[in-house]
Structure formats: C-alpha cells, structure tokens
C-alpha cells in the first residue's frame, strides 16, 4: 500500500550504512565520512588558489579544534596557503599547534615534520625548534 511504501522510504534513510569500521563519528543515520574523505575535504579547502587570510585562520582554528592530529597532507596544503598569503608567521604557528595537538604522543610531531620536510625546505619554513621558540 502507499502508506507502507512511505514508511519504508522513511525507515531506509535511518538505516546505518557502514563505509569504514574505524569512522570517528557514530551517527544514528546518515553517511559516515571516512578518514580519506575527511582528509580530501580539508586538502581541497586549503588548496583553494585564492584562499583569503580569514579562511586560512578559520580553517586552521577549526581543524585544531577536532580531536585529531591533521595528516601531513592537510598541513602541506595549509602551509602552501600560507605561502600564497605571504604569511610565514602563521606557517610556523601551524607547526607549533600540531606539536601541541599531539599531546603526550611525542612520536607524532617528529613524524609530521619528517613528512613535511620537503615542503618546509622548498618554501623556506623553519620549524619552531630551528628558531628556538620551542623552549620558553
């Protein structure tokens, strides 16, 4: 009957669809974003050619608000956005923020710097350690 078809449609959108068992969020319905989709979304955000300073700040502050350390790929896009905006200070700040986000997991930050080393050398971005601001 028509009413049962309507009910079926409504119920079908409430069924969970699992794309990845390690997805971060557990919604009761709706698609769950995979890690790759999350990364791609943020890389696209920072890769906008005419990104403006506000968007960079907003993006970084939001990204740092998440309960995760961003992938080096995302950070690479963010650093290149800083380059387009001629903002070296923000690039260094981003590295500081990543180290802070890692918290007690001290092996994450060296790994990220290692992955970003080509970009850091290419753009001439110093790490906080190289500038001596990692110690108060």
């Amino acid at each position: 009957t028509q009413s049962s078809a309507v009910v079926e449609t409504i119920l079908s959108c409430c069924r969970p669809q699992y794309h990845s068992p390690l997805a971060a969020r557990c919604y009761s319905h709706g698609k769950q974003e995979t890690d790759e989709e999350f990364d791609a979304r943020w890389i696209t955000y920072f890769s906008k050619p005419d990104i403006d300073a506000w968007e960079l700040r907003k993006g970084m502050n939001t990204l740092i608000g998440y309960d995760l350390v961003p992938e080096p790929k995302i950070l690479d896009a963010a650093l290149r956005a800083c380059r387009r905006l001629n903002d070296l200070a923000s690039a260094i700040r981003i590295l500081e923020a990543v180290k802070d986000k890692a918290g007690p997991h001290k092996e994450i930050y060296p790994y990220v710097v290692q992955e970003l080393r080509p970009t850091l050398s290419e753009l001439g971005i110093p790490t906080p350690e190289e500038l001596g601001i990692d110690k108060a």
Binding site: R57, A89, I94, K99, L123, G124, P126, L131, I133, A136
Partner: protein
Amino acid sequence: MLSTRALVRGLQAGLWRRVSTSTSALAAHGHSSAVDVVDCSVPQYNNRLDTPLPDIPFITNLTPEQKTLKEKEKDAWTKLSKEEKLALYRLSFELSYAEMKKGSDEWKTVLAGFFFFLGFTGLLVWWQRIYVYGDVPHTLSPEWVEKQTQRMIDMRVNPVHGFSSKWDYEKKQWK
C-alpha cells in the same frame, strides 16, 4: 584602581615576570598607556592554545623597518635570515606555544603570603590571649581538678571501658 595598578607594577618589577595587564598589552601595540580599556567592538588578539591563528596580528602599527620586512616576506622565504623569520613570527604572535604553556612562580608568592598572614594572625591571637582574656575559671586549678578526679573515681564514672576502668581500685593507682 590606582592601588591595584601599583601593586601589579610592583609585582611585575619584583616577582612575577608575566603579570599581564590590558595596559601593557595595549602599550606594546603602540597605544598610549593612558588607555586602560580594551575596545571589544573590534577583533582582538589573544594567546590561546586552541586558536593557533588569532583574528589580528599582535603588532599592527609597524615601524618602517618592520614594513620593509613585511615586503620581503612576499618574496621567497628561503632568502630570509633566521632573525628575520623570528621577527616576522613575533610581529604576528606575542607568545609562542611554549611560552603560553609555561607556568609561573606565582604559587610561591601565594604560599608565602598565606604563611605570612597565618603567622601574623598567630601573633594577634597570642597578644589577645595575654592582654584580653581574663583568668581561667577556678574549677580548672590543680587543687580542684584533684578533688574532681577523686570524686569521679568514687562515683565509678565510665567503669567498663572509660575513665574508671583505667583506675586500679585494689592498688589505688592508675593502671
């Protein structure tokens, strides 16, 4: 309040390296120190671990040297010296993450003040004991207490586990 400002200045000079006031923050921006209020109608700078990129840079009024440095920033960063890179960082940010997370020695001052006032109170209490309080009642004199104790023993006060249970009635002495 003038007194609190003087107190903060004194503490800044003597004890705590970083007691921040709105005046000192504004003075660094180039505002006159007479301005004690923060304009909350415009974006403000802040040092926060969870906000790596604040709304405005820390220093907005640039000297001519700083302006030339900003122009140089538009060129390749590989051409900048380490000092120039550090200067650019300090233009945009007041405190680095390490400086934000660093603690202060304020707790020592707090503890010292606590003990000082505790001691001072002790002196007041001592003076009060000598000069304000009168004599203690006569019922606390040794003679009275002796007679009182004997009476309590005779009455068998708390004979099971308490007072009189400690008295040996045969030997007429404390156990």
